[in-house]
């Protein structure tokens, strides 16, 4: 068996400057935060991020200057407000934006995962998002005579980065009973390579007890990183909720350039290991 388990540093070495990186994240929901911190620590630049509706990790990557571009349906931290560093970077033109509706983003990823040049959606019709020079979207006629649809060109990230509950050493990824998070399987299926951090490495026998809760097969996963509480401060239900205090601390720091840098130095660039980070933020 090819052993897929590596360190966060080794995993992030698979990401090159300029890569298109697919990031699993919701506004406060499960993002691979250990890997995001490692991407920043490693100083990756010019990344094109693809993320359905990410929050804090997008803000951190923007604040650290890692991003050249971002494809999204939303960037928000929900009740913690807009991502202020991301927002400013877009407003100054430092980060270019591809905004898509949810079905259009799914269509772009779905086309890549299905080996198709495009998938259609009935969304976006009537919006200005069709008039901002996005060459990945084309209104095409229905060949069967109905109303036109929007063809969404396949979007194939160079690498997908996500977090889940457990994996075996072969890279099979398992989750606890619960919602399958948006893009959690679409994003890796669409991507050339896949990195997954997990709460725990387990024996394959544990996964074989509930194969319907395995969400990715090992052959389609390139690297697995063990990272307990690796989604902190985002949530990973049923294991843990998002850390509201930490989100609030970030929102306050993000309002000021110096405070922002100090925050990143302390929490992102500082801790050399996951254990050190967890000690610092007071988890466990």
């Amino acid at each position: 068996m090819r052993d897929k388990v590596v360190s966060a540093e080794q995993a992030v070495a698979l990401i090159a400057d300029g890569d298109v990186v697919g990031l699993q994240a919701g506004p406060t929901q499960c993002a691979p935060m250990t890997l995001v911190r490692e991407i920043i620590r490693a100083g990756r630049r010019d990344l094109s991020l693809v993320c359905l509706s990410g929050g804090l990790p997008v803000d951190w990557l923007a604040a650290a200057g890692s991003l050249a571009r971002c494809t999204f349906a939303a960037v928000t931290m929900e009740h913690f407000g807009l991502c202020q560093r991301f927002r400013r970077s877009v407003e100054t033109g430092a980060i270019a934006v591809e905004e898509l509706s949810e079905t259009a983003l799914y269509a772009r990823l779905g086309a890549a995962s299905r080996g198709l040049p495009f998938l259609p959606t009935r969304g976006l019709i009537g919006t200005d998002l069709l008039d901002v020079g996005n060459d990945a979207l084309k209104v095409i006629p229905d060949p069967f005579g109905g109303p036109p649809v929007v063809a969404c060109r396949a979007l194939r990230p160079d690498i997908a980065v996500l977090h889940a509950h457990r994996a075996d050493r072969a890279g099979n990824i398992g989750i606890d009973p619960g919602v399958r998070l948006p893009t959690m399987t679409t994003l890796p299926r669409a991507s050339r390579r896949v990195i997954v951090s997990v709460e725990r490495i387990v024996g394959s026998a544990e996964l074989r007890r509930a194969p319907d809760r395995t969400i990715l097969p090992g052959f389609a996963v390139d690297a697995v990183v063990e990272a307990p509480s690796g989604a902190h401060p985002t949530s990973l239900f049923p294991a843990y909720d998002h850390d509201a205090g930490f989100f609030t601390a970030w929102v306050e720091a993000a309002a000021d350039d110096d405070a922002c840098e100090a925050f990143l130095d302390r929490y992102v660039r500082g801790p050399a290991t996951q254990q050190e980070y967890l000690g610092l933020v007071g988890v466990r």
Binding site: P27, T28, A74, V75, T76, G110, I125, G126, V132, R180
Partner: protein
């Protein structure tokens, strides 16, 4: 316990939009619609199917938190919907989930919504969160129910800076000519309830909330809405509705967030 606050009135008004046979979901940052859905389920629409956070079907024991999108909200769900293939499939068809509650940063006279940018798209003055599912909902055959906690000339404008979601476009049938069905049905704000005039499809004042005058609404609106001969007063919530909201649905008052101190003169 007597009286009610405007959030409770809005919740009761939104709740009245849901019928017993409907299915309805809620999105991000949607505590008010969540309260309304719960209120409907506890009163006139016990069979209303709620897809909490667009994820958990028919939760028995939802726990309202500051988020309307985290797992406690769909506690004891009977099914989880995968977002792409299941949730959006059920939405995109024409049979289910016919009504959507939408919050938007800007809303215009013809019901177009903006959650994208203030200013130019490429160099915006304000980068907003993004269209999320609104760019889809607006194009599908849905009844859009807008809710606005901050009725002001900044939020209700003659023309949105950017159309993140299609309403009636330029009105006068333009939406239908583009092949789109459905469209905006109602706008529930902290001052009034508005709908859309059948011919022009321009926003029309339907009722003002108790204590608010028509002039209050007009001066807080960035365009001239259609004025019917008679503007009703919004039906206030009943004491029982208020009790359910305060004691059972949202005892921690998450619904109050997003409301500013009264802006009406």
């Amino acid at each position: 316990m007597t009286g009610y606050s405007v959030d409770e009135l809005m919740i009761a008004t939104l709740a009245a939009c849901f019928d017993n046979d409907d299915q309805v979901c809620n999105g991000l940052s949607s505590v008010l619609p969540v309260c309304a859905i719960q209120l409907a389920r506890l009163t006139h629409a016990p069979d209303l199917v709620w897809i909490a956070g667009s994820s958990g079907v028919d939760p028995l024991d939802p726990q309202l938190t500051a988020s309307s999108f985290e797992s406690p909200l769909w506690r004891d769900a009977v099914m989880y919907l995968e977002h792409y293939a299941e949730f959006w499939d059920y939405v995109a068809g024409d049979r289910f989930l016919r009504k959507f509650c939408v919050g938007a940063a800007q809303l215009d006279a013809y019901g177009n919504a903006n959650n994208s940018v203030i200013g130019a798209f490429d160099h915006p003055r304000v980068r907003l969160p993004g269209t999320a599912g609104l760019g889809d909902m607006g194009a599908l055959d849905k009844q859009l129910i807008y809710w606005v906690t901050d009725h002001s000339p900044r939020t209700l404008v003659e023309r949105v800076d950017f159309r993140s979601g299609a309403g009636y476009l330029g009105g006068h049938g333009e939406r239908a000519r583009l092949g789109l069905r459905g469209g905006p049905a109602l706008v529930v704000t902290n001052l009034a309830v508005l709908d859309f005039a059948p011919d022009s499809q321009r926003m029309r004042l339907r009722s003002v909330h108790p204590g608010i005058s028509v002039d209050d609404v007009l001066s807080a609106t960035g365009f001239a809405p259609v004025l019917p001969p008679r503007v009703a007063t919004t039906t206030p919530p009943t004491a029982e509705q208020v009790r359910l909201i305060r004691e059972r649905i949202d005892p921690h008052s998450y619904r109050k967030r997003g409301f500013r101190p009264p802006t009406v003169r």
